[in-house]
Amino acid sequence: MGSITLKKVTKSFGSVDVIHPLDLTIDDGEFVVFVGPSGCGKSTLLRLIAGLEDVTSGHIEINGKDATDIPPAKRGLAMVFQSYALYPHMTVRKNIAFPLKMARLPKSEVDSKVEDAARILNLTDYLDRRPGQLSGGQRQRVAIGRSIVREPDAFLFDEPLSNLDAALRGNMRLEIAELHQSLKTTMIYVTHDQVEAMTLANKIVVLQNGVIEQVGSPLELYSNPANIFVAGFIGSPRMNLISGKRAHEHKAETIGIRPEHMSIVKGGKASKSKWQGTVGISEHLGSDTFIRVETDDLGAIVVRAPGDVGLKFGDKVTMTPDLSHLHRFDEAGLAIK
């Protein structure tokens, strides 16, 4: 229980089309992440599924039933907001109990469900506090708790971690992943952070300007990006994209190569498969070093090297791309298979 299907869904605000005709199927139990730059329509899409916005045309089906005109509360979905949207005047206990109270569950049942949720989320000691007295991570857990107790068919997360600091974000990411493991409920998660998308998702939906660019598992997207946009968006640091003469050499308008798919040596000579340049700024991460190489004919190229690579600023270097991992794109930016 928890499959969601979008059929030819569009959304316009006035004359601005935010979502172009869009089809998408989400299966029960999947963890789907909508990712894309800000303004791509991913949050709007989530709100359309939630029922907080009306679709301009098209249909939304939940569990095989048309839910297009069903109000949010009746869709069997739960949502965790970016701002947590906790009720500031209620204690943690009341916050978590609120959806159950709205469903008019008997008090004993409400209490036991709240206790259960609190135990799962390590909130038992904080049940009588108000949101204002909690830390960011605790608030986030309360927001999740509030959605868990409803036992929804699917969870919707709208950039839930963006208000947390980096360390906490990592922890919460794990907790959400564990939650999905234990609940096995459909989750739809919106983020602009491709790292979150890669680490959490079974299925990633990449959006740009209201259009789905590609749908697939993280690795699929990583290894077989369907177009330049996905290629550039997924992966960190970004894939190196090269166009012009060097691309034509590989019978493509644009070629792409990820930083880890190149080897780098000091000195050496240029050839068709070897690129030459000068070492610019390096980022030393310990295990890896990302080296920015300035070239005359390719622009700046980023290469991943081992942490102990002995290259210095200004060294002349030669890079050798692994041609089996070379991505080729045509004039429309689509991948050439």
Partner: protein, 288 residues
């Protein structure tokens, strides 16, 4: 940004307020409009027929009309200026650290709670009376001839009474606005070498623009209909007749409903002109 569902709910929930106010405005206004075209003299037989624009012409050509407009504008304008300027100064003072701030605030807002009738009575009798009033005692103490406030300085006296009533309101709103000013902004300006005066004009005053707008808007609404203060103190004599007081005289004292209704329509027009002007001038500040 909402669903069709909530939009229709919104329309449904806005409806009672709109319908009520529309009724409250339209029903009497229509009746007033109707009366204004009729010779309506209750004491001489009631509705005595259609007279076209006679009432309108008569109302404007009356020697009291333009002075009453002038008086209205003087009272509204002076009270606004006084309350805003004193309100800012008072708000700046109350924002400073001091002992007993809460008590001082109570003292300052107290006049706002006083009924206009009562404050007019108190000022008129106990302060401005040229024989027994406190001001008279004070003047005599300094060997001066007491001022006959309500006859020799009727407008300044009225402005004083009304300003006293509204100063607390202006002060409170401005104080809240000042307190919301980010102190880092002021500190940054101080670091940049801005003196106290230029800090006030370049940082505090622009920050207060919105609050001043609100004070001006709300006070104008209330000041246009100032009535009890005039009724109790001067009864409209000594050039203190505002437009609404003139209408009162036509309707209730002269019992000429037709003429008074025409005056009422003029007042509606004046109010709308002022409203539109206010919106033009200050409306931008309300956008947010």
């Amino acid at each position: 940004m909402a669903t069709q569902n909530s939009r229709s709910a919104a329309r449904f929930m806005l409806a009672p307020a709109v319908v009520l106010l529309l009724g409250w405005m339209l029903v009497p206004l229509t009746m007033t409009l109707w009366f204004s075209f009729r010779k309506y003299l209750p004491l001489r037989g009631g509705d005595m027929g259609w007279v076209g624009f006679d009432n309108y012409v008569r109302f404007v050509s009356s020697s009291s009309f333009w002075p009453s407009i002038q008086t209205t504008l003087i009272i509204v304008g002076s009270v606004l200026i006084i309350t805003v300027i004193l309100g800012i100064l008072l708000a700046l003072l109350l924002d400073q650290p001091m002992w007993g701030q809460g008590v001082v605030r109570i003292l300052v807002i107290a006049p706002f709670f006083v009924m206009p009738t009562v404050s007019a009575l108190v000022w008129k009798n106990m302060f401005m009376d040229p024989v027994n009033g406190l001001f008279a005692h004070l003047w005599k103490f300094f060997g001066l001839t007491p001022i006959e406030w309500l006859s020799q300085a009727s407008l300044p006296s009225l402005v004083m009474i009304v300003s006293w009533q509204w100063l607390p309101f202006a002060t409170l709103i401005l104080l809240t606005a000042i307190q919301s000013l980010n102190s880092e902004q002021l500190e940054a300006a101080e670091m940049d070498g801005a003196a106290v005066v230029s800090r006030f004009f370049h940082i505090i005053l622009p920050h207060l623009a919105r609050a001043i707008t609100i004070v001006v808007l709300i006070q104008t609404i209330f000041l246009l209909s100032v009535f009890a203060e005039i009724f109790v103190t001067t009864g409209g004599a000594f050039g203190s007749k505002t437009l609404s007081y003139l209408i009162f005289q036509r309707v209730l004292e002269s019992q000429n409903i037709g003429l008074g209704s025409a005056g009422g329509i003029y007042a509606v027009i004046l109010a709308n002109i002022i409203a539109i002007m206010l919106m033009r001038v200050v409306g931008k500040n309300l956008d947010a």
